[in-house]
C-alpha cells in the first residue's frame, strides 16, 4: 500500500494517532508529512517524547489535542510551533494532556490490557496531577487512565506484506501503543518475504491481526535514525528549529519539505542520503529455533 492510501484510509480527521513511539529513533516522518499534505484536522496525537514531528503537525493545524510527556526538538530544545499553539493559539488552540514518560506508557498498557486504569508511584507530588484529569492520586498511588489510540504508526527496519514487522534497537513505548491501538500502520525500510520474518518470530513486534497496512517507505524516518540503515541528521533538526522560530519561517519550511514534495522518493532526492546511510554493518548472530 502507498503512504497516500494508508493515511487516507486509516487516519481520518479526528483520529487519535500514536506515533514517534520509540522516542528519538524510527519516527514515521513520512507518514506525518502525508497527514499534513492531506489536510488532516482535529487529530489527537499520542506519544512519549516527540522529536519535531508533533511540532510540525501542530504548526500545520492538524492537531486538536496532544497527549504526551514532552513536545519539542530533542537536540535543539523548544518546539516553536507547539509554543505558538499553546501561548497564542496559532494556528489554532491546542488541548494538552500532560504525562511523564512512565505514565504515558502505563496509559497505553492499561488500554492494551483492557483495564480502565493502572497504578504507579510516579507522578506523586507533581502538578501534572492537577492539569491532566486522566491521572488521579488516591490511597498513596497514582491511577493512570487508559489511553486508546485509533491507530499507531510505526516505522521499522523490515516487514513482510502481512505486517509481521521486525524492529531492533530501543523500543520505547512501541509495543504497548500497538497493542492498545485499534490498528497499526507499518512503515518499513525493507519489504521482505514471510520466510525472513517468520525465521525469527521473537522479533515480530505485533500480532499480524493488529496490522492494518504495510507501507514500503525507505527513508521514511528521516531525519530520525534507523539502526543499521540511517544515522540521525542532526543539522536537519537544527535547521528546522531555526526556521520554525517564526510563523513565516515555519511555513516556508513546510512548503519546501512537505507541501511541494509529492512523496518520499522526491523528498529523499533533496537529501544527502549517502552521508547519512549506515555502511558499517554489524550483524547479530542467528538464533536456533530447531524443534526436533
Amino acid at each position: 500500500m502507498t503512504m497516500v492510501e494508508a493515511i487516507r484510509r486509516f487516519v481520518p480527521d479526528r483520529s487519535t494517532v500514536a506515533l514517534g513511539l520509540a522516542l528519538e529513533p524510527l519516527i514515521p516522518f513520512a507518514a506525518g508529512h502525508e497527514m499534513i499534505r492531506q489536510g488532516r484536522r482535529d487529530l489527537e496525537l499520542v506519544g512519549p517524547i516527540s522529536d519535531a514531528l508533533f511540532d510540525q503537525l501542530i504548526g500545520a493545524g492538524c492537531v486538536r489535542q496532544v497527549t504526551a510527556a514532552w513536545v519539542g526538538n530533542v537536540s535543539e530544545g523548544l518546539g516553536h510551533c507547539y509554543r505558538r499553539a499553546c501561548e497564542e493559539r496559532i494556528p489554532r488552540s491546542l488541548e494538552v494532556r500532560d504525562h511523564s514518560n512512565f505514565s504515558i506508557s502505563l496509559a497505553l498498557w492499561a488500554a492494551a490490557w483492557n483495564v480502565p486504569t493502572l497504578p504507579t508511584r510516579s507522578l506523586l507530588g507533581s502538578d501534572i496531577l492537577h492539569t491532566n484529569p486522566g491521572v488521579v492520586a488516591r490511597d498513596g498511588l497514582v491511577h493512570v487512565d487508559a489511553v486508546r489510540p485509533d491507530v499507531a504508526i510505526v516505522h521499522v527496519q523490515r516487514s513482510d506484506e502481512m505486517g509481521r514487522a521486525h524492529a531492533w534497537g530501543p523500543m520505547g513505548i512501541t509495543e504497548e501503543a500497538g497493542l492498545a491501538a485499534d490498528g497499526v500502520v507499518i512503515s518499513c525500510e525493507e519489504l521482505v518475504e514471510p520466510s525472513v520474518t517468520l525465521s525469527d518470530p521473537n522479533r515480530i513486534l505485533f500480532p499480524e491481526t493488529k496490522v492494518v497496512a504495510v507501507v514500503h517507505e525507505p527513508g521514511g524516518a528521516h531525519p530520525s535514525p534507523v539502526q543499521g540503515f540511517f544515522k540521525r541528521d542532526h543539522s536537519f533538526y537544527r535547521d528546522y528549529a531555526e526556521q520554525s522560530r517564526s510563523v513565516k519561517g515555519y511555513l516556508a519550511w513546510l512548503e519546501q519539505w512537505v507541501m511541494l514534495v509529492p512523496d518520499r522518493t522526491a523528498y529523499l532526492n533533496r537529501i544527502d542520503t549517502a552521508s547519512l546511510r549506515i555502511t558499517r554493518h554489524r550483524m547479530s548472530e542467528p538464533v536456533d529455533y530447531g524443534a526436533e
Binding site: 528519538e24 511523564s100 523500543m171 534507523v226 544515522k231
Partner: protein, 258 residues
C-alpha cells in the same frame, strides 16, 4: 593542555560526573549528562552503568558523538536494548542510584518546572514537558539537575512543579507524600553548585565556579540564598576530564555553544 581553557559547560559536565559513584546505576538524561556519564565511566567510576529511558543499558559510553540517547552508536555494545517500561521497572524498584534531569526553572526547594510559565490554562511560556523528568525526580534514589544560572530560572517558588524536589520544604515532605526516592542532591549551574541537606529542604550555596563570586551568585538567584559555612571554589576540570569530554563531544555541540 591549558587547564583554565574550558567552557562553563565543560566545568558543569566535570562536576556532574563527580556525582556518579563507582558501581552506580545512573539514569542518564539528555545533553550534558550523557557526557557526564562518559567522563565518570572513563575515570573514577569504571563500573557505573548507564540506563536510558529510550530503552537501553550500557556499561561503557558510546563510541562517538550522540545527538540523542537513541542514536545508533548508543545501541552498539549495549548491555540491554528493550522497551521503556522495563527500564522504568528498575527505577520503580528503587534500583537507580542517581538520575539527571534538565531544568528550565528550579526553586529553593529543588522543585523543577519544565511545563508552564504562568497559568497552565493560558501559559506565558509553554515548555516541552516532563519527558522522564518527573519519573526520575520521584523514583530515583537521588538526582541532580544542570541548568544555566539566570535569575528568571532560579526562582523563589516555581509556578508549576513538573518534577518534585522537596515540595514546600517542610520536614519529610517527600515521605508524607509517598515519594519513593530521596530527592535532589545538587543543582549544578553555569556559575556555582547548590546542595541540599541530607534530609532535604532548602538549597544552599556549596561552591562557586572559578571566576565568579558569592555576591554574583546571590544576585543572580531569585531567593535569599543561604551560603554554606564551608563554601568553596568549585574544583576545575582535570586534564583527564577535559580530554574525555572533548573525545565524546569533538565538535563542542553540547559544551562549546551557549
Amino acid at each position: 593542555m591549558v587547564l583554565s581553557n574550558y567552557t562553563p559547560q565543560e566545568l558543569m559536565v566535570a562536576v556532574a560526573s563527580r556525582e556518579i559513584q563507582d558501581g552506580d546505576l545512573v539514569f542518564v538524561g539528555m545533553r550534558l549528562p550523557i557526557l557526564a556519564y562518559a567522563v565518570a565511566r572513563n575515570g573514577h567510576a569504571p563500573s557505573a552503568r548507564g540506563l536510558f529511558e529510550v530503552g537501553l543499558m550500557r556499561d561503557q559510553p558510546a563510541e562517538g558523538f550522540l545527538g540523542t540517547m537513541g542514536d545508533p552508536p548508543n545501541v552498539v555494545g549495549a548491555l540491554w536494548a528493550t522497551r521503556m517500561s522495563n527500564v522504568m521497572a528498575l527505577m520503580a524498584q528503587g534500583s537507580v542510584d542517581l538520575g539527571f534531569i534538565g531544568g528550565a526553572e528550579v526553586d529553593r526547594f529543588g522543585n523543577l518546572n519544565t511545563s508552564y510559565v504562568g497559568d497552565p490554562a493560558h501559559p506565558k511560556v509553554k515548555l516541552p514537558g516532563s519527558g522522564g523528568g518527573a519519573d526520575i525526580a520521584i523514583l530515583s534514589r537521588r538526582w541532580v539537575t544542570l541548568m544555566s544560572h539566570e535569575r528568571r530560572r532560579l526562582v523563589e517558588r516555581v509556578s508549576f512543579i513538573t518534577s518534585p524536589g522537596y515540595g514546600d520544604g517542610s520536614p519529610y515532605w517527600r515521605k508524607r507524600n509517598g515519594l519513593l526516592g530521596g530527592g535532589p542532591a545538587a543543582i549544578i549551574t553555569t556559575i556555582c553548585v547548590l546542595r541540599f541537606p541530607e534530609l532535604g529542604g532548602e538549597a544552599n550555596l556549596a561552591s562557586v565556579h572559578p571566576g565568579h563570586t558569592i555576591d554574583e551568585v546571590r544576585a543572580e538567584t531569585g531567593w535569599d540564598l543561604r551560603v554554606a559555612d564551608d563554601v568553596m571554589e568549585t574544583p576545575t576540570p582535570t586534564e583527564d576530564e577535559l580530554s574525555a569530554i572533548r573525545r565524546f563531544d569533538p565538535e563542542g555541540f553540547w559544551t562549546r555553544s551557549a
